[in-house]
């Protein structure tokens, strides 16, 4: 069975809510049913075939071609299957994923993988602010799964992160790991100001020395046994993180945020 391919044939002027086009919703629907689905865009609703041409039939393997940054909520609450986005994705990409895999060849907007529960999200380009974060007003961000960003990430990466792994090959903006409750964020590039702001627990794993707030205390240089196991788990990824030459187990450890309960840590490669 060939992948179910949605090719964007027009450039919508307003943002489009793509949340109906997820594997579990489309499973068992005929092409006619799928084309008749309605997508909210601004104050209008479009039939799917007004925006996309449709090919293929495998609803567990969805491909979105010619994608652009106005397509929001791609893969919302995905519960199994794969979604491949060729081009950019809008805001709320993979919001609340429960299971399955989303890959984006371009960039993604705000709140990518916000409140993700499990599964895998890969963005080849950059992502906007609030990657893996909690929605505004909510207390729990990402709760599980893996996010891989090959480019840079915006501000507030992993805000309220609860569990799971965020890997960023490029740089991360200000407030990376803010208000983390647990989980791991690894950044190969540089990090911005207010790293780990108000983090309670969790690990920020860095390749480059950050600009740390005064509320992070130096705990010294250490060889940590869990790091080889963590790096070993990256081996299956299509990423720089899978390269054995980037791994390390010797780190400078900073505890913080001491303005919170101080059980988080920033580990910097030595």
């Amino acid at each position: 069975m060939s992948a179910l391919i949605f090719t964007l044939k027009t450039q919508p002027t307003q943002r489009v809510d793509m949340s109906p086009l997820v594997c579990q919703t489309l499973q068992g629907l005929s092409i006619a049913d799928i084309t008749a689905l309605e997508l909210q865009s601004g104050k209008r609703k479009f039939r799917v075939d007004e925006l996309f041409t449709i090919d293929g039939s495998d609803a567990q393997n969805i491909v979105i071609k010619n994608s652009m940054d106005k397509l929001d909520f791609i893969g919302k609450e995905l519960d199994g299957g794969t979604i491949t986005v060729e081009g950019d994705a809008g805001a709320y990409l993979g919001m609340g994923i429960k299971k399955g895999e989303i890959k984006v060849s371009g960039n993604a907007g705000l709140y990518a993988a916000c409140e993700m529960k499990n599964g895998y999200l890969e963005v080849s380009g950059n992502v906007g602010d609030f990657l893996g974060a909690a929605l505004a007003g909510n207390k729990m961000g990402m709760k599980g799964g893996i996010i891989l960003v090959k480019g840079n990430a915006g501000q507030r990466v992993g805000d309220h992160l609860r569990r799971g792994l965020i890997l960023i090959e490029g740089n991360a903006g200000d407030y990376c790991g803010s208000r983390m409750t647990a989980g791991t964020i690894a950044v190969m590039g540089n990090t911005g100001r207010y790293l780990g702001y108000a983090m309670r627990r969790g690990t920020l794993l860095l390749w480059n020395a950050p600009q740390l707030s005064a509320s992070f205390n130096d705990c010294g240089a250490h060889t940590l046994a869990f790091l080889p196991i963590l790096f070993n788990s990256f081996k299956a990824l299509n990423s720089k993180f899978a390269d054995a030459s980037v791994s390390f187990n010797r780190v400078q450890r900073y505890a913080g945020d001491m303005a919170e309960i101080g059980q988080g840590e920033v580990l910097v490669k030595l």
Partner: protein
């Protein structure tokens, strides 16, 4: 059946169901992994008074361990899951957590999980850190030499305990030499341990005693000094009997271990003073697993 002049008795060893788990101990080097493993599996010869039977299964190469360091795998057997969990946790806490540079990992998969470091984490007094990596939960417990890393749980599986055979020889040194040869061969087999000191038991027991408080007592039928004083199983020329007890994850594992062990004894043969191979059983009443010596060696 006679192999190389050694008579294989037409009898069987009788074994019983147990619960078992495997843990992997790693350390900075093999020396310290082995020290921790030996300590963890100490005083674990028999469930009768030790609470469990435990032993070192084998040394692991760094490429076989989760953290890429030298390691040792240990097997622990107990009569029930509850007892196994208690013994595992106590021994992990007192013998591995305390041993310098060690880390502790699950060594067996199973739907039934029992705590490995899950409760040891409280030693961290709030400073412990959980990490879930590829579906497995680890605990990082701060300790004075750095950090003790332990997997939260390990698997519990059904297993078999009490496989055995007896080596009957013309002298004590010859019995011991034969048992040493058997143990050397059996230690190369996977999924089994020989829990007694050096793998050899010199005080095999029978069920019951003339003393009401004792559930087991010396196996007088195989005691050479009692040949004229009890209903003996020994011929006049047998001066020493030693036993090898085997616990294994499956009946087949014990079959294989017994085969190589008995073969190693028979390779020494009558020329080295080995007279007979026998086995301990209780008339089939103790356990459902029967290891017929002649079938194993056929």
């Amino acid at each position: 059946m006679i192999i190389n002049g050694v008579t294989i008795d037409a009898t069987f060893a009788e074994a019983f169901p147990m619960k078992a788990t495997r843990a992997i101990i790693t350390a900075q080097n093999e020396k310290w992994a082995m020290i921790a493993a030996q300590t963890m599996t100490g005083f674990a010869t028999s469930v009768i008074a030790c609470g469990c039977e435990a032993g070192i299964e084998r040394v692991l190469n760094p490429d076989e361990t989760p953290d890429g360091r030298a390691g040792v795998s240990v097997l622990i057997f107990a009569m029930g899951g509850k007892g196994l969990a208690k013994q595992l946790e106590t021994r992990a806490g007192q013998c591995v957590l305390t041993a310098p540079t060690t880390a502790l990992f699950a060594g067996i998969d199973s739907d039934i999980q029992i705590p490995l470091g899950k409760n040891l984490r409280y030693f961290g007094d709030g400073f412990q850190i959980a990490k879930k990596i590829t579906g497995k939960r680890y605990w990082r417990i701060p300790v004075m030499d750095g950090e003790f890393l332990t997997e939260a749980t390990t698997g519990q599986v059904s297993a078999v305990g009490g496989g055995n055979f007896l080596v009957l020889a013309k002298s004590q040194p010859q019995a011991l030499a034969a048992c040493e040869a058997a143990i050397e061969a059996m230690r190369k087999m996977p999924n089994v341990i020989m829990p007694f000191p050096g793998g050899v038991v010199r005080s095999g027991s029978k069920v019951g005693s003339k003393y009401k408080t004792l559930g087991a007592s010396t196996n007088d039928a195989f005691c050479p000094t009692l040949k004229g004083a009890t209903k003996t199983d020994l011929s006049p020329n047998i001066e020493s009997v030693m036993e090898i007890v085997i616990d294994g994850l499956t009946k087949e594992d014990i079959d294989n271990a017994m085969r190589v062990g008995i073969q190693a004894v028979c390779d020494l043969g009558a020329a080295e003073g080995i007279e007979r191979i026998s086995a301990g059983n209780y008339g089939g009443k103790l356990g459902p697993f029967h290891f017929h010596l002649q079938e194993i060696m056929a």
